[in-house]
Symmetry: C2
Subunit: 203 residues, 2 copies
Amino acid sequence: VDLETCLAKRRDTRHFTPDPVPAAVLQKALQAAHQAPSVGLSEPWRFIQVSSPAVKRQILANFQECRDDAEEQLSAEKDRQNLHRSLKLEAITTAPVGLAVFCEQPRDDQYILGTTTARETLQWSVACAIQNLWLSLTAQGYGLGWVSILDLSWLARTLAAPDHWYPMGYLCIGKPATDYAGQPMLEREKWGRRSQQPYVLVR
Amino acid sequence: VDLETCLAKRRDTRHFTPDPVPAAVLQKALQAAHQAPSVGLSEPWRFIQVSSPAVKRQILANFQECRDDAEEQLSAEKDRQNLHRSLKLEAITTAPVGLAVFCEQPRDDQYILGTTTARETLQWSVACAIQNLWLSLTAQGYGLGWVSILDLSWLARTLAAPDHWYPMGYLCIGKPATDYAGQPMLEREKWGRRSQQPYVLVR
C-alpha cells in the first residue's frame, strides 16, 4: 500500500469488529515498529501483549477512574464535560489485541549516543516505533487506538513489567468497525478540529 | 511508494549532496507530518526552518561543545571514545534544509484530552509527526538526520522560539549522498548492531 494512502487513512480507532487479528498481521506490524529510528541504535521499544481477560478488565477499571478524574477538571464547562462523557475513548476489553508499550531506560552508567543532552529521545524513538506499527496495521486493513488515560505506573506494576521499563500507554488493536467518515473521531464528534497547515516559522 | 519500502529504506542520514530540496518536496513532507496522530487532537508540532548560514554555524558550534562533553563520558573506554570521535553525527551546515522541531506545551489551565495522566503524550505526538515527515522525505527520494546532541534550551532561545515551545531537536534534510549499504550508519560504522526481533512479553 502506498505511503500517502496509509498516512491519510490512519485513524485513532476505538470501535472494532470482533474479528481476530491474525498472528501474521501483528507480527508484521511489530517488525515495522522494529524498523523505526532509534537514538544511538538503542531500539528501546518493549511490548507486553495482554491476553488475560481479567487483566483487561482491571485495565478498563483503571481507565474509568482516570477518566472520571479528568472529567472533574471540566466541571466549570458543563457542555464540554457532557460531550467528553459521551466520547468512546478506549476499546480495552473489546479490541482483540491489547499491547502495552514501554521504553527501556538505560542504567545510569550506560552510554547511549545522542541521549546525553536529552534523555527523552529514548521515548521519542518508541513513539516513532508506535507510528510505524500504526501505519503497518493500517496498510494491512487493521487499526489501533492509543490509550493514555491510565495510571501508567500502575499499568507497569500490574503487568509486572521489568525494572526500567517506562510505560507509554496501551494500544487497542483490531479490525476497524468504522473509518469515522475519513476524519479523526474527535473531529467527527465535534470535540475539536484539525488545522489546515502545520505551523512553520522561518529564521 | 509502498509503505514497506519506505520503512526499510528510511535512514538517519548525515551525508548529503549539495542538491537543493525543492519547496514542494518539503511542503509535502510537512503535510505528512501534519497527518500524524495527536493526543486530544492537539497537533502540538511546531517547526522553525533555519535559513541563516550564521545561525547554522552557531548551532554547529553548540553541537561540537555538547559532543565534546559527551565524549568525556567515554574516557575510560579509549577505543569506544575514538570510534565515537570518528562518527559523522550531523550535517548542520551542509544539509540544504535545517528544521528545528518543537512541542507546544499547553497553558496550565488548558484541558487537552488524553494528557491528564501523562503530559509527555504531547511530545510523543510530535515524534510521530517527525516519523511521518521522515517517511515522506524517504518516499520522495530525500533524507533526514535528527540531531539531538545540542543544548536544546539554548537552541530554543537562539531561534527566539515562542514561549511554551519545548525543543525536540534539529533535523538536517537533503538528498542522501549514500544509503550506508542499506543499514543504519551506526551499524555500518560498527558502533552497534540491530537486533533481529522486537522484545515482546505476553501476560
